[in-house]
Amino acid sequence: MNRQRSKAGLFLMEMILVIFFFSICAAICVNLFAGAKVTAEKSVQLNNAVVRSTNLAEIYKSADGDLGEAAEILEALEDPAVAKIEVTVESVSLAQVPSSGSDDVHDRTTQVAVHYIDEMIVRLMEHEPGRSSISVWAETPDGTSGEVYSIDIRAAVTTAKGGDAQ
């Protein structure tokens, strides 16, 4: 009877230790899995941002730097269930646009914004005729919102003040 009781006590002790070590290891592993998930989501987001900005850049270039025409092409190409295209015809102050990040002398710009269903916003902002920038804004998997990707693009249009390659 005594032997059986000591055996049960030993088993109980072992179970306590097993549960203790298992919980520590499980916490570390769950942390690793969570880190992997966040990193994977970030890479998917970056890939999407690159593809979408490249798409918009080529549309802008094919429209010879005409924002209105670029918006029309976008509307024809994008699935309304996936993306909502918003064209701000009136000028927008660069200071009000979080994605501007430009030290341009122009303080106003017109923009085409594409709102994707996955909370990603792709903005095409014209700084002067033929010179624009594309910036992609999204909520990152770690909860912060910020610019994911940006590129400057140039269409073959003579600028008002004359192009300067330097």
């Binding site: 769950v30 998930k37 970030k42 850049a57 140039r154 269409a155």
Partner: protein
């Protein structure tokens, strides 16, 4: 009766021992933890590698559009030069890069390269314009600011707009395996 009792006792002990074996829980835990660790490390490594690839792709695309921006600027400057675009030295000086000019069959061909990503590749551009368009476009903006605006950059037709790898690329085809000897440090 005694054999029946012995049989029952034997079976009862078997059942009891299979349920309360000391050490079996530890073995199962070690196995489960080992599996969890392997899978979590593998998934993290895959995610990190994917992120690395995505960052390289993003950097490469950004570098392409930087070169593309520069190439378009040069195209616009050539168009704005009007008749001065016939002078190779003037063109090269205005755009700040070497531009080769060739006149052939009533057309003018401009070719230039924009290096990118530390000379890893370059954007090679060849443009073509009808000579009559250049002649009729006036002296252009680059002739002291009093000239016309030159001709339309769209008249400079793109013959080549290509990303070209510089240097030779040799794929790594060998896998380093153990040679049978330990390396001396």
């Amino acid at each position: 009766v005694s054999s029946k009792k012995r049989f029952l006792r034997k079976n009862t002990t078997d059942v009891r021992s299979s349920g309360l074996n000391i050490g079996s829980a530890s073995i199962i835990m070690v196995f489960v933890v080992l599996c969890m660790t392997i899978f979590s490390v593998l998934s993290l490594m895959t995610a990190v590698n994917e992120m690395d690839t995505a960052e390289k792709y993003a950097a490469s695309t950004a570098a392409y559009y930087e070169a593309d921006f520069r190439a378009e600027e040069i195209r616009v400057v050539i168009a704005e030069m009007g008749e001065n675009a016939f002078d190779q030295e003037l063109v090269s000086g205005a755009v700040g890069t070497e531009v080769a000019l060739r006149r052939d069959g009533g057309y003018v061909y401009y070719s230039y390269c924009i290096p990118a990503e530390d000379g890893e590749w370059e954007l090679a551009v060849v443009l073509k314009v009808d000579e009559s368009i250049v002649v009729g476009s006036g002296p252009g903006l680059k002739s002291g600011g009093s000239g016309s605006e030159g001709f339309d950059p769209a008249d400079l037709k793109v013959i080549k707009w290509e990303k070209e790898k510089l240097g030779t690329w040799t794929p790594d085809q060998d896998i380093t395996v153990w040679s049978g000897e330990f390396e001396e440090e």
